[in-house]
């Protein structure tokens, strides 16, 4: 105990070294965003705002931002809608088998490689895949729907990826709602729907906010899913960054785009967090 007391910085030093290196990396990201790109060379060290101007004034690039945010928003909403019932059942059900199964599923889907899962989705969503097969056999459609390499595919895959996080964010919040509150409401005459709307839902808002935060931030920063499922026809900001850095070797612009993505992420994260705090206080 006294060893710890006498030299805390010693034990923290290796960690700090790593983190300071990381901070330097972020700093260099910032620096590069102000450099100029010249074909043939890597970059020219100057201080210019042309990259930022280019990104923020060209609708082509702004569109990436818009697509990222829009699709992420859709995914978050869908994920919320799908995960709430699961979370509710998980929170209220006493059976450990059910909890165990869902937990295992969540863990395995989290640990399995994204590429593999995307491949499975591409197969499932293909013209001869299970989804089309089901819809055709149920007579809901007459010929296969184009479900791959487009926005739909991206949404499905992202919702899938985000589900475990939203489910568990909500489970925690719902578990904290005392079931006797719902019973009280029902004994006072509220039916199940009204109980849900007036008691459960409002009380679970912290969980909803947490779920939204977690999923939305994960989605807007997503890289592989839009890349693979989108088929190259469109992309998220991360894909733009990749293209600029790896394909064009335009480090300055790529860094600028990264800085913008970082800023948006921080802003939204901070903003929603602040909302949470204010809601909590009131």
């Amino acid at each position: 105990m006294s060893f710890l007391r006498k030299n805390p910085y010693l034990l923290i030093a290796p960690g700090l070294t790593v983190l300071i290196f990381f901070l330097i990396a972020l700093f260099s990201l910032g620096i590069l965003s102000f450099y100029t790109f010249v074909r043939g060379k890597l970059w020219v060290p100057t201080f210019t705002l042309e990259n930022y101007w280019k990104f923020l004034s060209d609708p082509f690039y702004l569109n990436y931002l818009w697509v990222t945010i829009r699709i992420s928003g859709e995914c978050t909403l869908i994920a919320l809608f799908l995960s709430y019932p699961v979370a509710y059942l998980l929170a209220r059900v006493k059976s450990t088998i059910v909890t165990g199964i869902i937990l295992t599923l969540a863990i395995i889907s989290n640990f399995t490689n994204t590429v593999v899962i995307l491949y499975a989705w591409l197969l499932s969503l293909s013209d001869t895949g299970i989804v089309n097969g089901l819809l055709l056999s149920l007579g809901l459609i007459s010929h296969p729907l184009r479900l791959t390499y487009n926005e739909f595919a991206v949404v499905i895959a992202m919702v899938y990826w985000v589900l475990p996080f939203t489910i568990f964010s909500l489970v925690g919040a719902i578990q904290n709602i005392d079931p006797s509150l719902e019973h009280a409401a029902q004994s006072l005459g509220a039916n199940k729907i009204r109980t849900f709307l007036k008691v459960t839902l409002p009380l679970s808002i912290p969980g909803i906010v947490a779920a939204v935060l977690l999923s939305f931030l994960g989605e807007i920063t997503s890289f592989v899913i839009p890349m693979v499922m989108g088929g190259g026809r469109f992309g998220f900001v991360s894909n733009l960054i990749y293209d600029k850095i790896i394909n064009t070797a335009n480090f300055p612009f790529g860094s600028t785009a990264s800085m913008i993505l970082l800023a948006v992420t921080m802003f939204i994260g901070y903003g929603i967090n602040k909302l949470l705090m204010e809601k909590a206080v009131s």
């Binding site: 006294s2 290796p14 699961v86 599923l105 395995i108 640990f111 593999v116 491949y119 499975a120």
Partner: protein, 261 residues
């Protein structure tokens, strides 16, 4: 009724790709479901395509070393962060968790930027650094959480009986942190092994990781060999989980999962 339907649908949705990829990996040729037969032919490319073995090796090596480094850094750091009050503690705590707040691509790009500026071109160094940075927060979070609930009196009892700080740490603290350490190892390794967005900026032309190779396979081949790779991985994870369960008890692992998410 409707909520239950939605819930069932969601669970089905969760399970679908997992089951599908395992099933497809055994398909004889037709990519339909249900299978028309049983075959191991798609496991063959795992051996014939050289990039699989080499990238698997890279991922395993980088994952192991990066996790080890993160543990070596993260455990002492967590000890200090949880148990000591010192100047700048809160700031440093946030700092340790900061890589989680940064988009993975941004982590990758920023590291590439600094490596190019400084002149480090070796992919192993680049990858190791990147992977330590992204695994360290998980280690610190899991270990810190376990240390916060730690009953210090057991350590005092040990010291009272004659064990100095080091022996107390070795004989009491560390063994009692076992399940947290296991959880930390699993999360760290998993994060490193499956990483794409950071690694893609740090790999070399021939020195690359398994997920990235699989990524190229979806463009180059797009065949069930990808599913086979996943079959192999899922099989290994299952075995790993069983071993962990025997070692530590699955409820601790579940708890750790919740902490991290």
């Amino acid at each position: 009724m409707i909520p239950r339907l939605i819930a069932a649908f969601t669970v089905f949705l969760l399970a679908l790709p997992l089951i599908l990829s395992v099933v497809i990996s055994f398909s004889p040729g037709q990519l339909t479901f249900p299978l028309t037969g049983f075959s191991l032919r798609w496991y063959e490319p795992l051996f014939s395509r050289r990039d699989f073995a080499s990238s698997l090796g890279v991922s395993l090596v980088v994952g192991t070393i990066a996790s080890a480094i993160s543990l070596g850094i993260g455990i002492p750091a967590s000890l200090v962060l949880v148990r000591q009050r010192f100047k700048g503690r809160e700031v440093i705590q946030v700092l340790f968790l900061s890589p989680l707040a940064i988009p993975a691509v941004v982590v990758g790009v920023s590291l590439l930027d600094v490596f190019v500026m400084v002149g480090v071109s070796d992919p192993l160094t680049r990858l190791l650094t990147g992977h330590v940075i992204i695994t360290l927060p998980y280690v610190v979070r899991v270990i810190s959480a376990s240390l916060e609930g730690f009953d210090r009196q057991v350590e005092e009892a040990a010291m009272n009986l004659g064990a100095d700080e080091f022996r107390t740490f070795q004989k009491i603290t560390l063994p009692l942190m076992k399940s947290a350490i296991v959880a930390a190892i699993i999360f760290a390794f998993q994060t490193s092994f499956n990483d794409i967005s950071v690694s893609i900026f740090l790999v070399g032309t021939t020195f690359t990781t398994l997920p990235l190779v699989l990524l190229t396979w979806t463009y180059k081949y797009f065949d069930p060999s990808i599913a086979a790779a996943s079959g192999l991985i899922i099989g290994s994870i299952t075995i790993l989980l069983i071993i962990t369960e025997k070692l530590v008890g699955i409820d601790k692992l579940m708890g750790a999962f919740r902490v991290v998410t």
